[in-house]
C-alpha cells in the first residue's frame, strides 16, 4: 500500500506529541538509581505492595469477566427496552473521577452506608479498609473497560453464526457457550488485559474507599505516592516496576493480536 507523505502542519505537532509522551518515561529511566536497585526492590513493603497489587487486580479482573461478559451480551444482543440508558449508566465509571467513585462506594458499602449498615448488622462484616474493598474499588473502576471491549467484539461478530447454531439444535445458552464466546474470545482477552491494567493502576477510588494500610490495602500506586514524599529514590524504583508491568501488558496484547490475525490469514 502506498502511504501519503505526512504534511508539515501535522508532522510538527505529531513529533511534539511523541516527545511529550515519551520524555517523562525516558526521564524515569535516566533518574533510576540503578546501583541501588537491588536494595530498594527488596526493601520491606515493596514486595508486599506489589503482591497485593497483582492479586487484587487479578481478582478484580476475574470478577469483571464473570459479571461483565454477560452484561456486554445484554447490551449487544438483547432487545430489552432501556438498553441505551443501561449502557450510559454502565459507562459512567469510565468518565467519573475515581475519587468520586470511592466516595460513592463508601456511601453505599461503608459502615453507615445503605447496604453496608445492613451487612454489618446481619453478618458483622464491614468492607471499607480491607483488601476486599481494594478489589471492589478496582472492579468498579475497571469493569467498564471490559464491558465496552466485549460489547464491541460482540457487535462486530457475525450474529448469523448464532442463527446457524440454532438451526443445529443449540438453545441460546449452548449457542453462547459454544459459538458466541469462542468467537469473541480475542475481544474478551483484550478487554481483560485492559481491565487488569486499569485495576493495577487504580489510585483514587482505592485510597478513598479502602484507605492506605500496608499489607492490606496499600497497592503499588499508593506506595509510589507515599514514597515520593519520604524517599524519592524508592518512588522511582516502584514506578519503574509499574512501567515494566505496563510494557509487558502491551507486549502481551500485541502478541495476542498479531497471533490472532496471523492465524486468521
Amino acid at each position: 500500500m502506498r502511504r501519503a507523505r505526512t504534511p508539515a502542519p501535522l508532522l510538527v505537532p505529531a513529533a511534539l506529541a511523541v516527545t511529550f509522551l515519551v520524555l517523562p518515561l525516558a526521564g524515569l529511566l535516566v533518574r533510576t538509581p540503578w546501583s541501588q536497585l537491588g536494595t530498594l526492590l527488596t526493601a520491606p513493603g515493596v514486595g508486599q505492595a506489589l503482591r497485593l497489587s497483582l492479586v487484587s487486580a487479578t481478582v478484580a479482573t476475574l470478577v469483571s469477566v464473570v459479571l461483565g461478559v454477560p452484561l456486554a451480551w445484554v447490551l449487544a444482543r438483547s432487545r430489552a427496552r432501556g438498553r441505551t440508558v443501561l449502557r450510559a449508566l454502565v459507562t459512567v465509571p469510565l468518565v467519573l473521577p475515581p475519587v468520586v467513585g470511592g466516595v460513592a462506594l463508601f456511601l453505599v458499602l461503608g459502615r453507615q452506608g445503605i447496604v453496608g449498615r445492613w451487612l454489618a448488622e446481619a453478618t458483622g462484616i464491614t468492607i471499607p479498609f480491607t483488601t476486599t474493598a481494594v478489589v471492589i474499588a478496582e472492579t468498579f473502576v475497571a469493569m467498564p473497560f471490559l464491558v465496552i471491549s466485549v460489547e464491541g467484539a460482540l457487535r462486530a461478530a457475525d450474529a448469523r453464526f448464532e442463527d446457524a447454531a440454532a438451526t443445529l439444535g443449540a438453545d441460546r445458552w449452548t449457542t453462547f457457550r459454544r459459538v458466541t464466546l469462542p468467537l469473541v474470545a480475542p475481544g474478551v482477552a483484550a478487554g481483560a488485559v485492559l481491565c487488569w491494567a486499569r485495576a493495577l493502576g487504580e489510585f483514587g477510588a482505592t485510597i478513598t474507599f479502602a484507605g492506605n494500610f500496608p499489607g492490606t490495602t496499600q497497592t503499588m500506586p499508593l506506595a509510589v505516592y507515599l514514597a515520593l514524599q519520604r524517599d524519592p529514590q524508592a518512588a522511582i524504583v516502584l514506578s519503574l516496576v509499574l512501567l515494566l508491568v505496563s510494557v509487558a501488558t502491551l507486549l502481551l496484547l500485541r502478541d495476542r493480536w498479531l497471533g490472532r490475525s496471523g492465524a486468521a490469514a
Binding site: T167, A170, A264
Partner: protein
C-alpha cells in the same frame, strides 16, 4: 405432504405472502430476484423470524401458527439449513462443525463424531475433518456445510442460495453433487435461489416469487415452456437436455447431437437459452454445426417476443420477435429449422 406452510411476513414496504407445500423427498425451488422476499420466507420456516400471519406445519406437527399463538423455537425444529456463505464455525474443525448438531441434540461425543465422519466422507471431504473452515476452498466449505445440515437426518432441509458464493467452475461441480445428495434425501427440501439454472437442475417444482408473491408455480419444464410473465420468461427459458459428452459433441439421451465449444466427457446436461436459438424456414447455408429440423409444438407471446416450443430430436425453446414469427408463418405443426452456435451452448456435468 411433509411441509405445509403459508408464510405472511412484512418487511418494510414489502409483504411476503407465499404458500409452500413440499412432499417427502421432493425439492421445491423458490426462484426470484434479490429482494423478492425468498430468504425472508426461508427464515420464517427455520423459526429465525416470526411470521406476521400464517402457519407452518411439518409432518403434521405445527411449528408456527400465528392465530393459535404457536411458535416452536428454531433449536427445537428438526431441520437442516445451508447458508449462502456456509457459516461454518471458524473456531471449530470441520469434524466438530459437522458433529455440532448431533451433540446439541443429545448424541454422545463418540456417536456424534462417528456420524460426522460418515457424512464428511459422503460429501467427499475424507481426510479434511481436522481442517479449520478457513483452510477449505469455497466448494469444500459448502460441502461441509451440506454435511452439517444433513447429518441429523432432518425432516426439512433449507438451502439459502447454497451455490451463489462459489465461482462458476466450482458451482458446476457442487451443483452436480448437491443434485445427488438431494435425490438421496428423504425429507422435504426448500431451495431458495436467484439462479434459474439451480432451480431447473435441482428442483422437482419451482415457485417463482416476485415482490413477495408467487407469480408462477409448476415443474421446471412447465414454467419454462409456458412462462406467465415477462419476468418468468426471461428468468427460466433455459432448455436443459441430458446427454453424454464425447469431445466437442454431446449425444442426447433423446437422440439428437449437439456440438459444443468446450470438450465434455461423461453424463452432462446441455443448456441452451431461448434467445440463442434462431429459426429458419429451410436448412440455412454456411453449414452451421448445430442445425436441427423441428416442428412447432406451441407458441406463447410475451412482450415483443414469442416463445416457441419445438419438438424434434433436439427439443428446444426459442424466443423470436413477433415480426419474425409472423414472417416465418409459424403455427403449431409447422416444420422449421433451429440453429444454435456451439459457443452459445453451456454444458454441465450431471
Amino acid at each position: 405432504m411433509t411441509l405445509d406452510a403459508r408464510v405472511v411476513v412484512r418487511r418494510g414496504p414489502l409483504t411476503v405472502d407465499v404458500v409452500l407445500q413440499v412432499a417427502d423427498g421432493e425439492v421445491l425451488a423458490v426462484l426470484g430476484p434479490n429482494g423478492a422476499g425468498k430468504s425472508t420466507a426461508l427464515r420464517v420456516l427455520a423459526g429465525l423470524l416470526p411470521p406476521d400471519a400464517g402457519r407452518v406445519a411439518v409432518d403434521g406437527r405445527t411449528w408456527d401458527d400465528v392465530a393459535g399463538r404457536v411458535h416452536l423455537p428454531t433449536h427445537r425444529r428438526p431441520l437442516g439449513m445451508v447458508f449462502q456463505d456456509h457459516l461454518l464455525f471458524p473456531h471449530l474443525s470441520v469434524l466438530e462443525n459437522v458433529a455440532f448438531g448431533p451433540r446439541t441434540r443429545g448424541a454422545s461425543r463418540a456417536a456424534a463424531r462417528a456420524a460426522a465422519a460418515g457424512w464428511i466422507e459422503r460429501v467427499g471431504l475424507a481426510g479434511l475433518g481436522d481442517r479449520r473452515p478457513g483452510q477449505l476452498s469455497g466448494g469444500q466449505a459448502q460441502r461441509a456445510a451440506l454435511a452439517r445440515a444433513l447429518v441429523g437426518d432432518p425432516a426439512l432441509l433449507l438451502l439459502d442460495e447454497p451455490l451463489s458464493a462459489l465461482d462458476a467452475r466450482t458451482r458446476l461441480a457442487v451443483r452436480a453433487e448437491l443434485r445427488r445428495h438431494l435425490a438421496d434425501f428423504g425429507g422435504s427440501t426448500v431451495l431458495v435461489t436467484h439462479d434459474p439454472v439451480d432451480a431447473m437442475a435441482l428442483a422437482d417444482r419451482v415457485l417463482v416469487v416476485e415482490d413477495g408473491v408467487v407469480v408462477q408455480a409448476g415443474t421446471p419444464a412447465d414454467v419454462a415452456r409456458r412462462p406467465r410473465t415477462d419476468y418468468v420468461a426471461r428468468l427460466v427459458g433455459l432448455s436443459l437436455l441430458p446427454g453424454v459428452g464425447e469431445g466437442t459433441a454431446v449425444y442426447l439421451d433423446g437422440g439428437g447431437t449437439v456440438a459444443v465449444a468446450e470438450p465434455a466427457a461423461g453424463p452432462v446436461l446441455v443448456a441452451i437459452r431461448p434467445e440463442s436459438v434462431a429459426l429458419y424456414p429451410s436448412r440455412p447455408g454456411g453449414s452451421p454445426r448445430n442445425a436441427w429440423p423441428a416442428t412447432v409444438a406451441g407458441a406463447t407471446p410475451h412482450g415483443s417476443t414469442v416463445r416457441v416450443e419445438l419438438d424434434g430430436p433436439v427439443p428446444l425453446l426459442a424466443d423470436v420477435t413477433a415480426t419474425a414469427f409472423a414472417e416465418l408463418g409459424l403455427a403449431p405443426g409447422s416444420p422449421v429449422w433451429a440453429v444454435v452456435k456451439a459457443s452459445e451452448v453451456a454444458v454441465y456435468a450431471r
